[in-house]
């Protein structure tokens, strides 16, 4: 078990009432009478990334009205960025799932409501902290304020990415909030992140006045109260996290600064800025790509010692990724621990969902067999005919693919001779074996020389220790390459090719390729499958929805209506907050 517990999760709030920027309003004066415990709220704000309530793994959820498991920050953005893409196919028929998989969701979808509620709960919690500490001048509190603003910005980032405008909550206020359009929210967030990392040249009294007029709750930014230059530990935000969000904002500006999901605005100079911030993350964040030998596994030696060498890429997603070097690649880690930090929406979810009992051990005594790959993901690594002839488990597959990122299982023979195979039939089949399994995430430690003979640790055998790298440095490399390919100026002496080479070299993949847009779209798929990023990438490449989206995959036909580039504001909130009337209708929901 890991020892570096950092969170004191305080029991403070029971529920979030949507349709306002307020915390629990029953009884009405809870918020004013509850003694404000600054450190506890601060810890709780960080804990919202990796937990769903006041006790683990469930039983006292943050968000009322939905299943607690579907209120997890990580799980909800992950599901809504993965289930509808060519990464994989979710098998269980949970409420609202079928329509996510096939891009036919409506504003009453339960999963969309789950994500939306989680983001606004987290934002409201941050606002609560900021309201209560507004007059503070001590160094510790000022530092906490900057971190809380950054966490609020991360939550707003997901709103900008996945929705098309929504309530602008900048203070705790029992009145219904006014909405911001997507472009307004984007612009506010851009300046917020710039201020947090000290790039506040663009921010002046006029822009602040403009925001104040638009959002009366906007607090004039505290110039100079910036994030730390370097991180205190892997679970806390520093300046480079702001750079990272700025990189994403600029790379996606043609989409985010548009108020219509079927229209992108002209790019202007955004790709210069995207490349610039990517280069800062690469060169100045202090993070580094985890590199090492290629994966190696002595097949058949199931009971022998020292049979496995894990690739650097594999180590990023293993049980000891807080100490095996992966922590230095993460811009921000979400804490998970078998004993001290359990959630149905974190490591347990990504590991168990993609495994079944017929596969190699996964570092958890449980497996759910409910999320398999789509055949389209496999064809990023193999031609279709090669894939059909390739039978191997996840420790052999990278060698056959010539790419450490091919962490798939198509055949596994247990010691007793039981053979399981995974086909490439796909076809929306509710069958875990209808396409290969993705064994990228595991609870096994990279110090284990023989994953086959893994045995459950004493204590909580089902709960893995694997931390969740919310943002990885590798993304800055690919973002840089994409920004330059889109016409952005090179920055800090980096070229697009060498950035892609760095990613592929680490994965021991061939460097003989043509750097084209379609190659890059595939490269995003190879590097980031099952990390909750795919929908955003497909949208940015114009391949998710809209007339020009001609890509097809399992469950998805070409030319989906452009409105599916974003999710709608949940009907429940639209009904409860009259200020939101017409927002959904304007984009076709």
């Amino acid at each position: 078990m890991k020892n570096n517990k950092i969170f004191l999760v305080a029991s403070l709030f029971a529920a979030c009432v949507l349709s306002s920027c307020s915390l629990d309003r029953e009884p009405q004066d809870t918020y004013t009478k509850t003694q404000f415990d600054q450190d506890a709220v601060f810890a709780k704000i960080y804990a919202t990334f990796g937990t769903t309530g006041q006790k683990g793994p469930d039983g006292s959820g943050d968000v009322d009205g939905i299943d607690e498991g579907t209120s997890s920050f990580y799980r909800m953005f992950w599901e809504l960025n993965e289930f509808c893409t060519d990464d994989g196919w979710w098998i269980w028929n949970d409420v609202g799932l079928a329509e996510i998989r096939t891009q036919e969701w409506t504003k009453s979808n339960a999963l969309v409501r789950g994500l939306y509620s989680r983001l606004y709960f987290d934002i409201t919690l941050c606002n609560h902290f900021l309201d209560k500490t507004r007059e503070a001048t001590d160094e510790k509190t000022l530092k906490q304020i900057a971190e809380v603003r950054m966490i609020r910005a991360i939550n707003y980032y997901y709103l900008v990415d996945m929705f098309c405008g929504g309530p602008m909550c900048l203070t705790v206020d029992p009145d219904n909030p006014m909405p911001a359009t997507r472009s307004e929210m984007y612009r506010w967030l851009l300046y917020e992140c710039k201020d947090l990392c000290g790039d506040d040249n663009d921010i002046n009294a006029d822009t602040e006045k403009e925001f104040k007029a638009k959002f009366p709750a906007h607090v004039i930014r505290p110039y100079g109260n910036n994030l730390p230059d370097s991180r205190e530990n892997m679970y806390r935000v520093d300046r480079s996290v702001a750079w990272f969000i700025l990189m994403r904002l600029y790379l996606n500006q043609p989409i985010y600064a548009s108020d219509s999901p079927d229209k992108q605005i002209a790019p202007g100079s955004c790709y210069n800025s995207a490349a610039w911030y990517a280069s800062r993350v690469i060169k100045e964040s202090g993070r580094k790509l985890l590199t090492g030998d290629a994966a190696n596994y002595v097949d058949g030696a199931t009971n022998a010692d020292d049979v496995a060498t894990y690739s650097a890429y594999q180590k990023l997603f293993m049980g000891d990724n807080n100490s095996n070097g992966a922590q230095d690649e993460a811009l921000l880690m979400i804490y998970q621990d078998a004993n001290y930090c359990q959630s149905w929406g974190g490591a347990r979810f990504v590991i168990n969902a993609m495994r079944d009992a017929n596969m190699m051990p996964n570092g958890s005594s449980d497996s759910w067999s409910c999320f398999r790959t789509s055949p389209e993901l496999i064809t990023l690594f193999f031609t279709k005919s090669d894939a059909e002839a390739t039978m191997a488990h996840e420790y052999i597959m990278p060698v056959l693919a010539g790419d450490d990122r091919a962490t798939f299982c198509s055949e596994y023979v247990k010691e007793d001779g039981t053979t399981s195979t995974w086909s490439l039939v796909g076809g929306k089949a509710a069958d875990f074996n209808a396409s290969w399994a993705d064994a990228k995430w595991t609870g096994i430690y990279s110090t284990s020389k023989n994953p086959y003979v893994w045995s459950s640790p004493i204590g909580e055998p089902a709960w893995p220790d694997t931390d969740l790298p919310l943002f990885r440095l590798a993304e800055a490399y690919l973002s840089y390459a994409e920004a330059v390919m889109q016409g952005g100026n090179e920055a800090q002496g980096l070229t697009a090719k060498e950035c892609v080479d760095a990613i592929r070299s680490r994965a021991h993949a061939s460097l003989n390729y043509n750097l084209t847009n379609s190659f890059l779209l595939d490269e995003w798929g190879r590097e980031f499958h099952a990390e909750g990023l795919r929908r955003s990438v497909l949208v940015r490449f114009g391949q998710f929805a809209g007339e020009k989206a001609d890509k097809t995959w399992e469950g998805h036909t070409a030319g989906k209506e452009a409105k599916y580039n974003v999710y709608p504001i949940p009907e429940t909130d639209e009904t409860a907050n009259k200020n939101l009337a017409g927002l959904n209708a304007a984009i076709g929901y």
Binding site: S183, Y186, R187, L190, Y191, D202, Q253, Y256, A257, I265, A266, P267, G268, S269, C270, S273, G487, N489, T495, K497, E498, D501, A502, S505, S510, L511, N512, Y513, N514, L515
Partner: protein, 320 residues
């Protein structure tokens, strides 16, 4: 000056023109069929043969070939082309909001194969041009190229010479099969690679190790490419651009950054690097003195190869 422009105002034409158009249009000739009240109407004279379309690229269409305004020939005026584009352009600012700015752009001639290259543009980065009572600003872009900015709608008439980089757009580039022989120290299984325009400067083509008649180690490779294209050597399968052969300027002992070797008519290219070293070579090359790294010098801007006291140019021809 690296690039030579001749961009001359009509008012000053008699003094500075390089070419001599048979007949120069007046504002009236140009505006007859165009909307000069809300658009910029630009008449440009090309003093070189135009073998394909000429287009106007600018901030109104994102500086791409796609969507560029195609020029129309001006009836009755040989060599004159007309462009029309909106005088005001909505442009995205850094924060994603938009602003209205003046039209900025430049005329470009397409290559013979229809492809687009910034090599064939017009403009003079150092001049202001006054025409017909209106001024168009010619400003240097971020990489020194010239952009034109029009302050308002109206008719503008330029006689210009378009800039030529190497091949004229009307001349098809010659391709040859080039044979490269590199004299370099042997180092176990290590091989150098060639990268260049011919393979888009991506993964290098590994060279074949061999011996010449005197028993010296040579590496050879062949590829097909156009004249005036360039290549260089790099250590094979290496992603670090610093591991390319470094050429030194013998006179001031400074390295010549990123030296490309330019292809010409001579197809048998010999380069002497026999006293050089490979950064990635694992076997030490004991007999190479540490300070003897370069066998090439830059003289009068040209790369000169030294071999046994004889100087060759990069195409293998003896200099002296």
């Amino acid at each position: 000056m690296k690039k030579i422009f001749s961009f001359v105002a009509v008012a000053l034409a008699s003094a500075a023109m390089v070419a001599d158009p048979a007949k120069t249009p007046t504002v009236g000739d140009v505006s007859a069929n165009f909307d000069a009240t809300s658009n910029v109407v630009l008449a440009v004279y090309f003093d070189e043969e135009v073998c394909n379309d000429v287009v106007f690229v600018g901030n109104h269409q994102g500086w791409q070939l796609e969507g560029a305004t195609k020029a129309q020939e001006l009836d009755g005026f040989d060599g004159w082309y007309i462009f029309e584009a909106p005088a005001e352009v909505e442009q995205t600012k850094d924060d994603g909001t938009t602003e209205t700015v003046a039209l900025q752009g430049k005329p470009v001639q397409l290559k013979k194969d229809g492809s687009f290259s910034w090599d064939f543009q017009t403009g003079d980065p150092d001049s202001w041009v006054s025409l017909g009572g209106q001024e168009a600003e010619i400003s240097a872009g971020y990489d020194g190229e010239a952009n034109l900015t029009w302050p308002s709608a109206g008719v503008y008439i330029y006689e210009s010479k378009y800039f030529k980089n190497h091949n004229s757009p009307c001349v098809e580039a010659k391709s040859h099969e080039y044979h490269v022989t590199l004299y370099a120290p042997s180092c176990g299984g290590f091989k150098p690679a060639i990268i260049g325009d011919f393979n888009s400067w991506s993964e290098g083509v590994a060279m074949t190790e061999d011996m010449d008649d005197n028993g010296a180690t040579i590496y050879t490779a062949s590829f097909t490419d156009e004249e005036k294209h360039a290549f260089k050597f790099k250590e094979v399968n290496d992603t670090d651009w610093s591991n390319q052969i470094v050429l030194y300027n013998e006179e001031d002992d400074t390295s010549y950054d990123n030296p490309n070797i330019t292809l010409g008519e001579v197809t048998d290219i010999k380069i002497d690097y026999s006293n050089g070293t490979w950064t990635l070579c694992t076997d030490a090359v004991d007999n190479i003195a540490a300070d003897v790294v370069a066998t090439k010098v830059i003289r009068d801007g040209q790369i000169v190869i030294l071999k046994d006291g004889v100087e060759f140019n990069v195409l293998g021809a003896q200099v002296k």
